[in-house]
């Protein structure tokens, strides 16, 4: 196993008096697919919000590629190489699918204000390059036919793919997927699993996902962390987690266990 890409130490977060995340410690190795599961309200999305800088943790440390990123602004964390998708889609609805992707590529562009306003050859060359890459990414997600369509007109399954494509356009090392299979039919779930494997294998992007869909979690995750009420109740390989008494209890109740 290689060095950890993401390292979480003693991560704790309070909302007022409520402890939403309590003393999380875990590492995500480079190149892995890591799953975070737990019942509703257990602190999964809060964990994502802490890693991506939407919230600043009450206590603890988040390191990415050896750099401390705790409390940094969200856009700076993106520049470091962490991208994410959202449980409730957050797309740029009135912009085209192509523009959604190009915006994510913006921070890696070099054209300054003057060369952009004067539309100098260097600006045009870069625009051409960005457009080409964005179209390739759309193609990869089978969204080419939607390039000029306003994003809000896309069907749900395509929006989920567009959001993943947009996250990939930021050229991340780690991608955080918040319930990517939510609302998908079995066929779409299968496609999604293939897609996640491709992201890891072809883009060399480490995947950290929240998911309720057990087929996805057990099917592709190499390591799983189970939380409930902000506490870690189990961590390990899918097989170990699946039969852990505390996990069964959290999901099915005491008698079910």
């Amino acid at each position: 196993m290689s060095a950890p890409l993401l390292k979480i130490e003693k991560l704790t977060h309070y909302f007022g008096g409520l402890k939403a995340v309590s003393d999380f410690n875990f590492e995500i190795p480079e190149g892995s697919i890591y799953g975070l599961i737990g019942p509703n309200g257990s602190g999964k999305t809060t964990t994502f919000n802490l890693i991506t800088g939407i919230y600043t943790p009450t206590e603890g440390k988040i390191s990415f590629q050896g750099h401390d990123i705790t409390g940094q602004k969200p856009f700076r964390i993106v520049h470091r190489g962490i991208a994410r998708t959202f449980q409730n889609l957050r797309i740029f609805g009135n912009l085209s699918a192509l523009d959604n992707i190009r915006i994510a590529r913006h921070y890696t562009t070099r054209s300054g204000l003057v060369s952009s306003i004067l539309r100098m050859p260097s600006f045009k060359a870069e625009e051409r390059q960005v457009r080409k890459e964005a179209l390739e990414l759309l193609d990869l997600m089978h969204l080419s036919h939607r390039a000029t369509e306003k994003a809000k007109n896309l069907p749900y399954g395509e929006l989920r793919r567009l959001e993943i494509a947009r996250a990939l356009a930021t050229k991340p090392r780690l991608i955080l997927l918040d319930e990517p299979a939510a609302g998908m039919n079995p066929k779409e779930v299968d496609d999604l699993m293939h897609l996640i494997l491709r992201i890891r294998n072809e883009f060399k992007v480490t995947v950290f996902l929240i998911e309720h869909h057990m087929k996805v979690v057990m099917g592709i995750c190499e390591r799983i962390k189970v939380i409930d009420f902000g506490e870690t109740i189990a961590e390990g390989l899918p097989e170990e987690v699946k039969n852990h008494p505390k996990v069964l209890e959290a999901y099915l109740g005491k008698r079910g266990a």
Partner: protein, 330 residues
């Protein structure tokens, strides 16, 4: 075809300029009508620059004329001073351009200063802060004796004319359009669409909001300077809240987020407002009814209510005319 390479917008501007100039020479367009055209062109700058802030970046500024006021007073004070020191020499136009740009830069600096603290606020709160700021500027002019206080700044040299105004107006539109149709402009649009998502695809949202305010303020300052040198007066009431609302109405009537819409609305509403003034006067003269000019504001307001009721996305929505929009770089 090489001809297609020629910018459509430039062609339209030149054509418009030529037609008006010829009609003016033939006395079809009189001085009064030309004045309304000049005012419309200045409003084009004000509306498109406000649209950059409100329509493209999705912020809410209610103090746009405050920036115009800074530009007007600074450029007018400068040009009056220069004119006093050395009346009329060949470099006049250069001095004028210098003063106008200085006014724009002063407004941009104010925009930048206002931008940083206030952009932590969103929506209604931001609107209230910008409203307050606009009123502070107006009150400051009202109480500063150096710039004439409540009398206003008088005796400003008349440098603005149809030629200078149309050049400034077209340049402003081109710069704002080119900005919007670049990667920087898309970053601004993403803030309007979803600020959290923008931040999480790596956009420094604070930077782009401040940038929108600074650019918007700069062009408002240019417009203010042109106005002061057109009517040879800079007066606090020209830059108050009501005037800011007039510009706001233009971008809503034209379509929030559409430069084409802002241009059409700037012309349409300026002409409508003047047309109603004339229309009501001649109606009163013809019928002998005691209706005063104030009634034009009632009709004007009613028309706006109808626009909002039946076409609340404005004339253009977020669409652009092919004359304004640049083709994709392919």
């Amino acid at each position: 075809m090489k001809l297609q390479k020629f910018p459509r917008f430039l062609a339209v501007v030149i054509l418009f300029y030529a037609v008006i100039e010829i009609l003016f020479k033939l006395d079809v367009v009189n001085g009064y009508l030309l004045h309304i055209i000049n005012l419309s062109l200045i409003y084009v700058i004000l509306a498109t620059s406000l649209n950059l802030i409100n329509g493209i970046t999705g912020q809410f500024s209610l103090g746009h004329m405050g920036f115009a006021g800074v530009g007007a007073y600074v450029s007018a004070a400068l040009s009056t001073l220069v004119f006093k020191l050395s009346p009329s020499k060949p470099g006049d136009m250069l001095v004028f351009v210098g003063c106008i740009v200085a006014g724009g830069l002063a407004a941009a600096v104010v925009g930048l200063l206002i931008g940083f603290p206030s952009l932590r606020l969103k929506g209604d709160y931001l609107a209230i802060v910008t409203l307050g700021f606009g009123e502070i500027i107006r009150t400051a002019f009202n109480n500063l004796d150096v710039v004439g206080g409540p009398r206003g700044l008088l005796g400003i040299p008349k440098f603005s004319n149809f030629t200078t105004i149309i050049i400034a107006s077209a340049l402003s539109v081109v710069v704002i359009r080119n900005l919007i149709q670049s990667s920087h402009g898309r970053a601004m649009l993403s803030i309007r669409e979803n600020e959290v998502a923008a931040e999480l695809v790596g956009i420094d949202t604070t930077r782009y909001k401040v940038m929108a305010f600074t650019f918007g303020a700069f062009f408002a300052g240019i417009a203010g300077g042109l106005l002061a040198h057109l009517i040879q007066l800079a007066h606090p009431t020209q830059f108050g809240f009501i005037k800011s609302v007039e510009v706001l109405i233009m971008i809503y009537a034209g379509g929030v987020g559409s430069i084409t819409g802002s241009i059409l609305a700037a012309f349409g509403l300026t002409f409508l407002s003047e047309g109603l003034r004339l229309g009501i006067r001649s109606l009163a003269d013809a019928t002998g009814l005691p209706i005063g000019g104030e009634w034009r504001m009632v009709i004007y307001a009613l028309l706006l209510i109808f626009i909002m009721l039946f076409r609340n996305e404005g004339l253009m929505g977020t669409k652009e005319s092919k004359i304004i929009e640049l083709p994709e770089v392919e």
